[in-house]
Amino acid sequence: MTRARVSAPPVRHRRIWRNNWLRALVVFAVLYFLPYSTLSIPGVFDGPLDAPGVLQLLAVCLVFAGLAVSYDLLFGHTGVMSFGHGIFVTAGMYVTTILVNHAGYGLLQSAALALAVTLVASLLLGGVALRVGGIGFAMVTLAFGQAVSILVISGSPQLTGGEQGQTLNSAAVPAALDGVRNTANLYWIALAYLVLCAAAVWGLTASTPGRVMRAIHENERRVEVLGLNPYLFKLLAFVVSGLLAAGGGVIYLLLLGGATPTVSTSNFTLSLLVMVVLGGAGRRWGAIVGGLVYGYASQSLTRVSGSSAIAGLPGILRGPLEQPLFLLGAAFVLIVFFAPGGLAGRLAAKTTTTGIEEG
């Protein structure tokens, strides 16, 4: 598949690339105009598209999609499996909350400081953890993630609010983002975040360092033999994806109106992995599709689990079906088995006849 892309004539390559930007423009324009629509889709959403509840659900989906895109830069494009991605979401969320609530800083200032903290933390963490390659990196980042999770949950309850999390001081939130009536604004911020993530990751992967990252994914030893240092490129991917994840943490904080320790748990990072694999790792639309589908599924499954259709089933079937994580985990195993390229891979296999795959 790599060979097909390299040997394709450059003109054709550029045309496909331009078409992709056009496609992206159409998709994001449709998403932009959704809050103006009063269309209602029974069975999928509880109300018309411009209802606050529906917009909130969609906004969470968009944030998940953005986080998945940031994770895919590491996992799908560079081939680095990190289980510490939640650390940066947590950093964005909690540093902002703590600075706003306890230091009295403004929201923007706090968010900027949170990003600065994330920059330093990702350099330190990546610098240490990338010393072990491959799957060892996954184990080490998992351990670091656990340390952060414990710190957030039981380190200092006055600062973090412990297991309950902490409500963001609403005085610091601009009036345009406060209250149910302004959910559309939050939706647009979430959409802007997704566009930013997509643009950053697509731009980076099309650049020269991005090509080296892709080469590391294909064959790290060969990159070394060519005289390049894979460590530095992996660190770059780690830091960029960490910063994007911290940004996502800030947006998620605004959506929820407070910080929640769930983003620090290993299950949250695993769910990012599930999103990326579900959509198709390393594919242009894969992480976005995966994030949207997972975001929708995880929010609706609790509804399905509590529905009367499930309650009517015999106990032996009902028990497992009431557990969203069981359904997600089982679905994940099935996808790994039967659709290794994820949803985007399925679509590409149907529509692409030339054998040239999207990046």
Partner: protein, 289 residues
């Protein structure tokens, strides 16, 4: 002094649990390059099966029964996982890991569906529920059971790998898989055996963790798994002795630091990990990086 003895005994008890979980993990990873994220789920299954037996049979008989049932359940689920999930994905190492991640999410949720989210109390036989006086400290008897079983497992594994042909094949497979296959030995059979062995140790750990805590809950295995990962990274994949030393270091550091300040224990384990990674010039397989 009494505090020190108590902390050391608790630390060694925890170390025994970490060793039971990490030794299987380390062997599986060393031999097959599969990081088994479902290993924590094996622990939980062993714990719940053991609890069910102990719930029906009381006394020492029930204890022995639950230990055996935990071992059998762990070995069975691990063998089934290898057969149904790992083997069909042979040659796709990343997908193998991802599939175990899926199992690791699904199995605890399934256990929660069957036995509920709340922890179940484990009734320990009378002689095990007491304490033993060591240098003036009242050390719970369960700790000694944990340490004794872990030491027995360590010795058994060393005998297995040092003295038997099967153990030799596994060690050679850890060292250079292709070469062993080229010599005409079917390493895949060793895969199944190592998976079942690791699962048995995990199931045993599940029962012992239940005894240690006096209860079982669906998330038990996952919380042990993270520290087992740290032990594997510190001890080096595929090395039984390295795993044992690392398990003791992690257990003791955690307990001593926890005494200094609550919740400092888990943090100090991660700091230990970072320090070792910075100072060490070897990779996971023990070869120069």
């Amino acid at each position: 002094m009494t505090t020190l003895v108590l902390l050391t005994a608790t630390g060694l008890g925890l170390a025994a649990l970490y060793f039971l979980v990490a030794s299987g993990l380390s062997l599986i990873f060393g031999l097959m390059d599969v990081l088994n994220f479902a290993h924590g789920a094996f622990v939980s299954i062993g714990g719940y099966v053991g609890w069910t037996v102990a719930d029906h049979l009381s006394g020492t008989f029930g204890l022995v029964g639950s230990l055996l049932a935990g071992i059998a359940a762990g070995a069975a689920i691990a063998a089934a996982t290898e057969l149904a999930i790992i083997r069909p994905l042979y040659g796709r190492p990343l997908d193998q890991v991802l599939a175990t991640v899926g199992l690791g999410l699904a199995i605890p949720a399934l256990l929660q569906a069957i036995w509920g989210a709340d922890s179940r109390t484990w009734l320990v036989p009378g002689w095990l529920a007491g304490t033993v006086d060591v240098a003036g400290a009242h050390v719970p008897t369960v700790r000694f059971l944990l340490i004794g079983i872990a030491v027995a497992l360590l010795l058994a594994l060393r005998l297995l790998f040092g003295r038997t042909r099967a153990g030799l094949i596994v060690r050679a497979g850890v060292e250079d898989r292709e070469m062993v296959t080229a010599l005409g030995i079917d390493v895949r059979r060793a895969n199944s055996a190592v998976f079942a062995l690791g699962g048995a140790a995990a199931g045993l750990a599940g029962v012992l963790y239940g005894l240690y805590q006096g209860s079982v809950s669906p998330g038990d295995g996952t919380s042990l798994l993270i520290f087992a990962f740290v032990v594997v990274v510190l001890g080096g994949a595929g090395s039984i002795t390295g795993t044992a030393v690392a398990a003791i270091a992690v257990g003791l550091v955690q307990q001593y630091a926890d005494y200094a300040s609550a919740s400092l224990g888990d943090e100090s384990v991660v700091i230990l990990l970072a320090a070792v990674l910075l100072l060490r010039r070897r990779n996971l397989q023990g070869r120069p990086a």
